[in-house]
Symmetry: C2
Subunit: 423 residues, 2 copies
């Protein structure tokens, strides 16, 4: 068979065909000096380059020379808030100079400042603001990203955010997975009428988002100052009845039993987990809920501790990493930064960190075919400018993706050489 | 006058014409909606765009539209080890999994592994390995970088490294400032004959490097396991007599009185300073020695504390930031990461962090004209894709430089939009 695209001259091709129950080094399932042949957007050959059929390459074949770098599946960012207006550099500065959370909120910072800016923006503006963020994710090799609402906090503006997500998903290469996060915070105007806002979520926002098919997931921020486990349970059960799958911002700033709640509700993921208890870890492990770690936020907020990634892996939990891109607690699209912090601060191995941004993240989003390479599957892959996935966290916070391929087409390319020299 | 290049449509132009004694916000000396006119590589206009002369732009004029972003002087990276062979991803992994420094050294890691690889590499290879690193620095807006030897640790290989630095400086846009760092470590073969190696430095390496004009500075790593203050004093005094200016790796892993020694010797800078004492800070302040902070290393080594940047500024010390790019303790060219950590972990303000990578760093290298913009000075500048320098640390670990201009010529350009949207 003659291929449309032939990826060759690799150090190895990581196929990620293993399971989260395996040690990550095995789960990456590498093919040394592998090649990938693509036909009609699908993987038609996946094996050692030496085993390529003699007619693999013809005059029409696009040859992608990996120049000794490794090739892996396209990346998946399983937790972002990349649709928003405004920015919070001032708040970042104040926090670095010692201001407390309360002082920041009093000075007009916090989620509510982003809610005000996002409500004031049109859908068109939200789309325009998000484009460069998606372009940065794409350049790094991301072809799937989850995006949450949660800066609207009323019917109209939550739907506006989700419609912006839908438009963005259709107009550029990164496919977006929409999550309704009306339970992000109680809006200012209902600060003294929480139950009224919970009712709005239950009776209007969730049904409308479901009716318009705008969200695959529903998320809730379970935290003191946000939503109680009881409120979150009501909201997520209603969302589940409406056909959305629950996920939870769990145990970020304190142990609220968020992990246990995620397990109870059959959530797709429990995200953050900086303060998860041993009981919470055991619950995730028992029920197969993915842990999505957000180390960039821990750094960005000057919060501690980082989530216990090592402990979660030892307990057999599927661990994913994300950028958590958002204007308040993680203003960064950098995948290599999150991978590096995942190793430095969450205690993951390089193999676990790569799994966490590919197959581990795909499982968190219920994406059957994403985050791995297999014969007959979609040819969504990245040729990296370095010889090993180990260089991604090690060569910290720099871009490593040389070419990003979506369904067999090169959709992003840059001159990258991160071979770390002489090795 | 008609300009060769006209930079217009800025939010502001930061000129950095202040002094380190001023609060950094003032020292940045911004010009709101400023423009820069360039003629023959020099700045021929620097002021509000509204004040441009009517004949500023002719048919030959290259117009650089800043698209509402800010413009500042080209960046200066005052401390790197960017010439080396080999990589140490394995060591990074082991450290993240809990291995101690001693275990790493026993497993063949540490500086000596880079020394072995660098000795084995030819000068041509060292040049080739360093090129992509310089390209990454350039893309971020760096037009000056200090580079140290120190992985040769014998006459031949120290000179080979410095010759590689000289060649690299002449073949691409980033101008390199060479530093002899023979006092980086005692090489393995002289582990039990320290004095022999110190004599080699004093009698051969320093004189030869000076005779060939290969180094502007001489640096010494003052630390337990490296060089004692007494050994460093002898080496740096010899270097000073030979015409090099001292600088010191000071108080990184423990308080060795490195800051006081830097002050005593009239060093250009004391670098690292994680464990500097109050007496050391006072000495730097009294003698006007620049503190060069390396926060990427503190993160990368999982070391704590970070250097007391806030305290140093309060004491009136000129503070610079660097990448410290090297394969063992800071494998990262990311300027925004170092700036972000400078704010998050060293306690600098955004204005201080920008100063620290421009004028503050130029002062650390004794570069009179670099790191600021002034009429008649060289047109080395960067047009950033964001509206304010505050977005550089805030929008963490992503590239912000849209166009890099060296002597009036655009030497790097990329499609960057970091306006953080709607602000």
């Amino acid at each position: 068979m003659t291929f449309d695209l032939l990826v060759h001259n690799t150090s190895e091709v990581l196929t990620l065909r293993g399971s989260p129950a395996q040690p990550a080094e095995l789960a990456l399932s590498p093919i040394a000096r592998g090649a990938v042949g693509v036909r009609d957007g699908q993987i038609a050959f996946l094996g050692p380059e030496a085993d390529l059929p003699p007619d693999a390459s013809g005059p029409e074949t696009v040859r992608l020379d990996a120049r000794g770098g490794f090739v892996g599946p396209a990346l998946v960012d399983p937790h972002t808030h990349l649709v928003f207006a405004g920015e919070r550099a001032e708040e970042f500065e104040r926090r670095n100079q010692g201001a407390s959370y309360l002082e920041l909120a009093r000075a007009g910072g916090g989620i509510m400042s982003t809610v005000r800016a996002t409500r004031a923006a049109s859908e068109d503006e939200l789309v325009a603001f998000a484009r460069p963020r998606l372009a940065r994710l794409l350049r790094q090799g991301v072809l799937w990203a989850e995006v949450k609402s949660g800066y609207g906090l009323n019917l109209e503006d939550e739907l506006k955010m989700l419609r912006a997500v839908r438009r963005l998903s259709s107009e550029q290469p990164v496919r977006l997975v929409p999550t309704l996060l009306c339970a992000h915070a109680v809006p200012e105007e209902q600060k003294h009428a929480r139950e009224q806002y919970v009712s709005l979520c239950l009776e209007e926002i969730i049904p409308r988002a479901a009716a318009e098919g705008l969200a695959r997931f529903c998320d809730a921020f379970v935290e003191e100052g946000a939503f109680s486990p009881g409120e979150a349970r009501r909201i997520l059960l209603a969302a589940r009845s409406a056909g959305m799958v629950p996920r939870i911002h769990a145990d970020q700033l304190s142990d609220q039993g968020g992990a246990a709640l995620a397990s109870e509700l059959g959530a797709a993921s429990a995200d953050h987990l900086e303060h998860v208890s041993e009981a919470g870890i055991a619950a995730l492990s028992r029920t197969g809920v993915t842990a999505v770690l957000c180390p960039t936020s821990t750094l960005f907020l000057k919060a501690r501790p980082y989530a216990p990634g090592r402990r979660l892996r030892e307990a057999g939990v599927n661990v994913a990493l994300c950028t958590n891109l958002n204007p308040g607690s993680a203003m960064s699209e950098s995948v290599p930064l999150a991978m590096g912090l995942g190793c430095l601060e969450n205690g993951l191995t390089a193999a676990e960190a790569f799994w966490a941004f590919t197959r581990g993240a795909a499982l968190a989003l219920g994406l059957g075919e994403a985050g791995r390479l297999e014969l007959g599957g979609p040819a969504d892959l990245v040729a990296f400018g370095c010889a090993s996935h180990r260089h991604l966290p090690y060569h910290l916070a720099v871009d490593h993706a040389r070419a990003v391929v979506r369904r067999g087409q090169v959709v992003a390319e840059q001159d990258v050489d991160c071979t770390s020299a002489g090795a």
